[in-house]
Amino acid sequence: MSLSVHFHGTLGQFALDVAFEAPGRGITALFGPSGCGKTSVLRCAAGLQRLNGCFALDGDVWQEGRTFRPTHKRPIGYVFQEASLFPHLSVRTNLLFGHRRTVGRGVPEHIRLDDVVDLLGLGHLLDRSPEHLSGGERQRVGVGRALLSQPRLLLMDEPLAALDRFSKEEILPYLERLHGVLSVPVLYVSHDIAEVERLADHLVLLRQGRVVAAGPMQELQADPTLPIARMPEAGVTLPAVVAGREDAYGLTLLRLDGGHLLVPGDLGPQGTARRARIAASDVSLARNPPEGSTILNALPARIVAAERQDEVQMMAVVALGEEGRGARMLARVTRKSWDALGLSPGQPVYAQVKGVALVQETM
């Protein structure tokens, strides 16, 4: 089960040459600055645009050499930046537009109208005209319409970019739920790292029509040489499981690969899966176990790599556990402290975590 992508050609002012493989499950984000060619890759995958190259899903070739399957024969769902609903049809008929042309013609029904309506909260909108919906509602209908066409691949082109902050926050939980329930692989184009970190499992970093790096998101996040590590909000998102509670203080103990974190709040019963985001600027390093500090979390770890970012800052990668075999985190520290403590790769340290954001319930 996998996706094999390779497109090359000229796009306006630059040459695009993008090749990557993506898993046949979960969300793969195509991430990069505006104009790096990510939308073109998505359009090529849909057959809306044609560049040279090849494209195959689970060994089913959609494009290769002179073979080119037209868009309407590809089992895809496409979510545009603006929902692009049909204004002359009601929400219900919009939702069923693709459904009628697939399930109505004998394609097995994996996704039913009722499921989509529940999942995306569309019940009260069904008989309305798309003209009278808010931006967020429209986009939810757009997602539902794509899902109901029984896609084997969901393509999403910055589905949140045209929305205001409010509508974005409204629709993100729906997308997160989708991620948990859906077995269809998703290619998700975005230039917003926060969105990508909340949703994606796999990352393809693009810049000026080339792939800078591709791989599981945690791996790329913890690579200090990549451009995402230079962003002010750089950090990692790690899978975590609720391992216990300290009810007297209202804290929950989370188990990570290679260590434990105490975080505020009740995060559900033992065994609940969570995603914890730890920003590089929220992690500091100490050579000795800290004493007399108010910081709750100091995890034994080992420095595995470090990269000078500028005059002032160093970006260090630490692996949790005394042997340094656990999950990797980024720590942004000043060069002055780095030199003063005499830190270098291979050394054992204590990673002090000042803040954790919990982003998602993974199923």
């Binding site: 849909a46 057959g47 809306l48 037209p70 868009t71 309407h72 024969k73 590809r74 895809i76 769902g77 496409y78 545009f80 603006e82 692009s84 609903l85 049909f86 204004p87 002359h88 537009f97 693709g98 042309r101 697939t102 005209s129 003209e131 319409r145 794509a146 066409s149 393509l155």
Partner: protein, 222 residues
């Protein structure tokens, strides 16, 4: 006064409009969507009757439809001498003469909604033909309404072309506008008044209805 010219005119305008919708829709689609470099030349030919004096158009049509033109040859197939001065000839002339009034609004409507709805339909497994009928045509319905009404009304009022290729044969080519001219020539003022007044009321009603319908459709979608 005879009802014949009125019935004949309605027949001519109705038939012309139907033919124009059938021929003009694919033409408008092609003009709206094609990337061919010579499409504007075609668009110009379609638009020519807007500027050309009807007599000029009528003159060339007479050449084409007459016994020495291709129309004459065509007519010889069923034993006639010429297609000029026949109802069929009038229909051909009217189709050409009213074409820009039908093609232009439909083309504009096809261009107005852009590529996106068509792309969205394709990603939802609609074939190009399916997309055309279930997305493009409904989205362009205002253009169709405007085109049909303008084509019909314009054909009803045509005079110059009719006079050149149709003449004045009762029940064959004697349409309203020619009949009015005829009444005036023969000083039958009452009959002329009735027909002219009728045309005035008709035109007013057509335009008013169209504007109101457009408003309604405008509110319904788009």
């Amino acid at each position: 006064m005879s009802w014949q010219p009125i019935i004949l005119t309605l027949e001519l305008a109705g038939l012309t409009t139907v033919i124009l919708l059938i021929v003009g829709t694919p033409l408008a689609w092609w003009l709206a969507r094609s990337g061919a470099w010579w499409k504007e030349a075609v668009a110009t030919v379609v638009a020519l009757p807007l500027v050309l004096p009807p007599t000029v158009l009528g003159f060339y049509l007479l050449m084409l439809l007459g016994p020495n033109g291709p129309g004459g040859w065509l007519a010889s197939l069923w034993g006639a001498r010429s297609m000029a001065f026949t109802f069929e000839g009038l229909v051909i002339g009217s189709v050409l003469y009213s074409m820009p009034f039908v093609v232009q609004p439909i083309r504009n409507a096809f261009e107005a909604f852009g590529d996106r709805p068509l792309e969205a339909a394709a990603t939802l497994r609609a074939s190009p033909l399916d997309t055309f009928f279930t997305v493009a045509v409904p989205l362009a319905r205002r253009g169709f309404l405007t085109g049909a009404v303008l084509g019909f009304a314009h054909t009803m009022g045509e005079f110059g072309v009719v006079l050149m290729i149709g003449g004045n044969i009762p029940g064959q080519t004697k349409v309203l506008s020619v009949a009015i001219y005829d009444y005036v020539e023969t000083l039958q003022w009452d009959e002329a008044h009735l027909l002219a007044g009728g045309m005035l009321v008709f035109s007013f009603t057509v335009i008013l209805t169209m504007m109101m319908l457009e408003k309604r459709i405008g509110r319904g979608g788009r």
